[in-house]
Symmetry: C2
Amino acid sequence: MADTPVDGFHAVIPAGGAGTRLWPLSRQGAPKFLHDLTGTGRTLLQGTVDRLAPLTGPDGVLVVTGARHVDAVRAQLPELSGAQVIAEPSPRDSMAAIGLAAAILAERHGPGTVLGSFAADHVIGELPRFEAAVRAGVEAARAGYVVTIGIEATEPSTAFGYIDAADPLGVDGAEGARHVAAFTEKPDAETAAAYLATGHYWWNAGMFIVAAGVLLDHLALQLPPLAAGLRRIAAVWDTPERDEVLAEVWPTLTKIAIDHAIAEPVAAAGGVAVVPGDFSWDDVGDFASLAPLLAAAAQPDDGSRTLGEESLVQRLDAPGALVLTGERTVTVLGIPDAVVVDTPDALLVTTRAHAQQVKGAVDGWRSRGRDDLL
Amino acid sequence: MADTPVDGFHAVIPAGGAGTRLWPLSRQGAPKFLHDLTGTGRTLLQGTVDRLAPLTGPDGVLVVTGARHVDAVRAQLPELSGAQVIAEPSPRDSMAAIGLAAAILAERHGPGTVLGSFAADHVIGELPRFEAAVRAGVEAARAGYVVTIGIEATEPSTAFGYIDAADPLGVDGAEGARHVAAFTEKPDAETAAAYLATGHYWWNAGMFIVAAGVLLDHLALQLPPLAAGLRRIAAVWDTPERDEVLAEVWPTLTKIAIDHAIAEPVAAAGGVAVVPGDFSWDDVGDFASLAPLLAAAAQPDDGSRTLGEESLVQRLDAPGALVLTGERTVTVLGIPDAVVVDTPDALLVTTRAHAQQVKGAVDGWRSRGRDDLL
């Protein structure tokens, strides 16, 4: 039944995060999820909805975003109803964002409804494999587990956390699923290589699939005030009292990531499962990771890539140069693997090797008082 | 009498040449002489006039430029009268430009008037030394010589031609002057080093000082039709017939550089003298040569330089980076000796080591039909 929605399944898409290492393309006012970073004509947010709607049905997607981005999100996703976009008054980290969505879904559809949380700014390929992993994850979630999808690592990356998979779960419809022994932080290179050699460490892509009631029950055990606050807001979400209760309760909620609030403690207690994902996945963390995602069709085979208008770019003795065009011509001469990002008020010139250090440039402009550029 | 003008001396400033290796700052429509390339607030053309007017008096400067640049030249030099700006209907190389000025000066002031020709797009420092060299050159010119100023070489540059100085001239007031044995083309590195070792090869900066009548007499011997054509135009220059005669004669004039038409053959016959110049001089041939000319005051001591607005530039791990700012911020991260030139329609990103290859970028845009960028 690969082509039909999964009964009782909803997708929650937290759309936040500045994407500082993609500055000056990604800004606080227009974070990376609002941009087309792959040259497909769809933004990362739109691509995420496109990917999930077939699994949930058109009404089954909820986007949770900050108040300042609500208008942009609605503009990019006209197919979503007002009830499908949840605006946070202020950022209170991922547990509050996903927990609020879970509580609203529990109110609307009952505690047995299963939600899957997927970031708005990731790129995924091989969609049938992604869908298969989600379907397996839903089965494991229905068995009562907090389920994550572990990406089969293709290299000993130090940019991601890892999931240590233990014994098989033994749930029908989720045959590859395993118990999770632990989540790890981003490792150093040596540790990452050791992880890969074991064959049971997978990348943590921050995807969670869990029944709404199960999530809220775990939260009630771990952080009772947060769970109570979220339930109180959700109870009035679809009523005229929403704004009043939000204004009173939201600022009091604990700021904590779902990883620390739920995933890690529940894994230690044996309640977390992992489904292997054999699809391609990238969190587009910086410009170096962006380049390989750009379609190679009609692009030079020296690794050069353009995001934007190829006719505006001239490369001379600059193999591997990545150019994000604006309104003007860009000439790159003699700088292999250059990265040039042309925006109306800020130009960035660097190399792929320095992609992780772009955050330092943002810090530099902040310290000069140029918040208008951030 | 270092502070008074030189009696009977006029300066001719040929203002032409695209400065292709300074693209996209220098364009066909706005060549490098129209730009402030040193951050002094004066363009190269204005700086050239500023340097020469004290030697000639305010009325003693003639600028020879192309018809398309006349308006810009007049706007930059409001102190010049209409008679001091000579517009060529089309480019016919340096012999026609300087020869026309000489013929006009001979008409206006007699054949004994001495002219000095100095390019509009060079940078000169240590002005008292420059003035002393010019005064000595005028004395040698009054003795009947075609005089050039040889720049004392500070390195075995392969970017300049050289002057091979022979025995002393023996002219009062021009004690350092020598006969010129020959002019050489730009040498290779080995040859340049050998030149320097002799102690009697100086850089050819393309400066000529000569009596108008002497120049025209040499030209009449070497290229009689060109000399006749120039005299014919000059005879009516300050009359209502100018345009008619120009239209008839100018297109027929031989296109040749003054070096080939006069300097080389006359040197071979013993008629050229060289005065040593111990001032600093640069023809600002490319961005690599531009950087050292920018005032070091208030600039980083890692060799980084900004032409424009320093507050728009952030460098991280980019010592020696040269940034020519436009309207936007520029961030350079991790590219030592980067060269970034930000203009409204064209951005250039390269390094100092590739400065000589910028011409290739111009050729590339031309071959794509983007003449609007040239």
